[in-house]
Amino acid sequence: MSSRDDILTTIRANRPPVDRPLPDVPLFDQHPPASLLATFKDSLHGMGGLFLDPPPSGDPLARVRAKIADAKVVCSMVPEIAGNRNIADIIRPQGLADVDFAIVRASFAVAETGSVLLSETDLHVNAVAYLAQHLIVLLDPADIVINLHHAYRRPEFRDRHYVSFHTGPSATADIEGVLIHGAQGVRSLSVLPLARSLQNPTH
């Protein structure tokens, strides 16, 4: 008998003789917050992420440009801003090891937790979101859902192979509880609220 058959046979033989029906899971959205964006921003801050308030007038990307001004290697996956490392040229993830800033657009975000959802469609090369020193995320405020119950109804979980919630930067508190950012992944994660342009609708 294969291991598979062994295991399944034992499971069937040892099935607990009790009736345990599967419960219905509510959406827990009876009391939505007044502003999803404001709640998202608070949650993001609580997890160590940065929120780039857009300027009252002028270039909405001004703060991003300021951030990346002195960077050596910028890899942009969004049409709104240009980098100097083309993700389409990357054959091996190791080719992204020297990236200072990666700029990406989130598929959507979750107000409850301050998370942004990044998938292989957003990233092109998944590893860029972890090898870059800093991550900048463009987020359309219309793409914010209330909580994780709503999040898991989104199609990304059914039609993509790699889908990851990022909530703030890489962090650890493994040594005496001292908080470290950039434990192994990005040292900072910044979110810029910016609607999707007509040329770049939700894919």
Binding site: V25, Y130, Y152, Y162, E176, G185
Partner: protein, 512 residues
Amino acid sequence: MSTPPTMLHPELLARHDGDAILRDGRRLDHAEAASKPLRSRPEPQPRGAKIHGNRPVDQAEAAACFIAAPEHEKMHDERLWDLRQKRDREMHGIAEWEELRSLASAIKEHTLTHLDEYLEQFEAKARANGIHVHWARDAADHNRIVHGILNDHGAKSLIKSKSMLTEECGFRAYMASVGIEVIETDLGERIQQLDNEDPSHIVVPAVHKLRTDVAAVFSKTIGTDPDNSDVHYLAEAQRETTRPLILAADAGMTGCNFAVAETGTFVVCTNEGNADLSANVPKLHIASIGIEKIVPRLEHLAVFVRLLSRSALGSPVTQYTSHFRGPREGGEMHVVLVDNGRSERLGMEEFWTSLKCIRCGACMNTCPVYRRSGGLSYGATYSGPIGLIIDPTFNARKYSNLPFASSLNGSCSNVCPVKINIHEQIYAWRRELVKQHEVPLAKKAAMKAAGELLSRPAAYRAAIATADVALAHLPRFVIYNGLNAWGRHREVPHSPNQTFHSWHKANRGEKS
């Protein structure tokens, strides 16, 4: 009421060390210790239980050694109690918290009672998405399968993220024996790997170590300054020395927090992003998945993800919650579904619900015994309350003392996000181990005598009456000597002038 003091050991509070300030000047403190870091003086690290083959692990003795290292004990106790406090804070922010726990428990119990169906569904979906699915009966089977996959790819180095299942399987030792280099990428696991010591806690593997212990380990292994125990310095050193290994690795391995039958997806939660590096940098990704990790549908993930990090660390979610449903372009993905005693445990009437465990560690954080003993005192892969109820299934003899390392206070059951009745199972294991003749004669006799006394009211009253009279009159040296365990660390109780029973009888005149 007066304002409560916030710490048991306020002398541990250190000066502010300037990290992680929020924009409004508040100090960021999620998932870390109390708002200021703890600072203690160097002290040799206690090393945990002595393992002698299959002999029963003496947890009490190892716990005594931990308590005899007061700097370690205080830091450990305060740090984990703080995680418990943070968990409570998150709980109070979620009106539906108790409903979520009930849902999580019900989803898991349903799944476990239909485990074969859901495993088959998961396998079919995963295969359809291009994932290779393997099944491993036990630890040896798991190690052999992974070795085979690595060999097929000529892989000589493997980066991995934290997985308690791989600890169960003795994976690192096996890989070392067949000449494959394994690099742990989680900071806590890496510290333990470099120190040649097991992880002590399932979520924060090096929580028992002071920064001076870590400085000593790193100076010997990755060349840091032995006199520099600044945590940022140490963490940065680990990041910089591990990064090239990640980039050069032939293969990557992760564990799994949840596996969704409906879509063939498996979910890995980390705070560092090291699982995502392990999975997305090398071409080959292998995931070890315990068969109890299955949940039926995507909608159920919301319940578990909302409970996991809040219970474990007191943050709403882990920094990275990644869902893998198939290999990336040009890559290859394998999962190994591992039994290693789980299907047997399913057949244990009193203990099968321990399979609901989502490995959050909340029970360890709240356990007053665990916090004062350190995880290494249990001498097993799983320590703390959950360890007490699953370790005897791995080795009844070796872990026969563990269910006695509990005061049965019940806090663990209350914090468990999936409502495992941990403290009741601990008590049930004591009876079970006595039945299996694994409890030493002296212990059994003492417990039997106590049980008989407590169950017969007249005998109990007579006994305490005599005891109290004896106490009032015997000289001190008779009471305080090596034979009297009670008197070793405590003053013997004063005998009251009247026991409660006699007072009640005299004053109330009712039948008591």
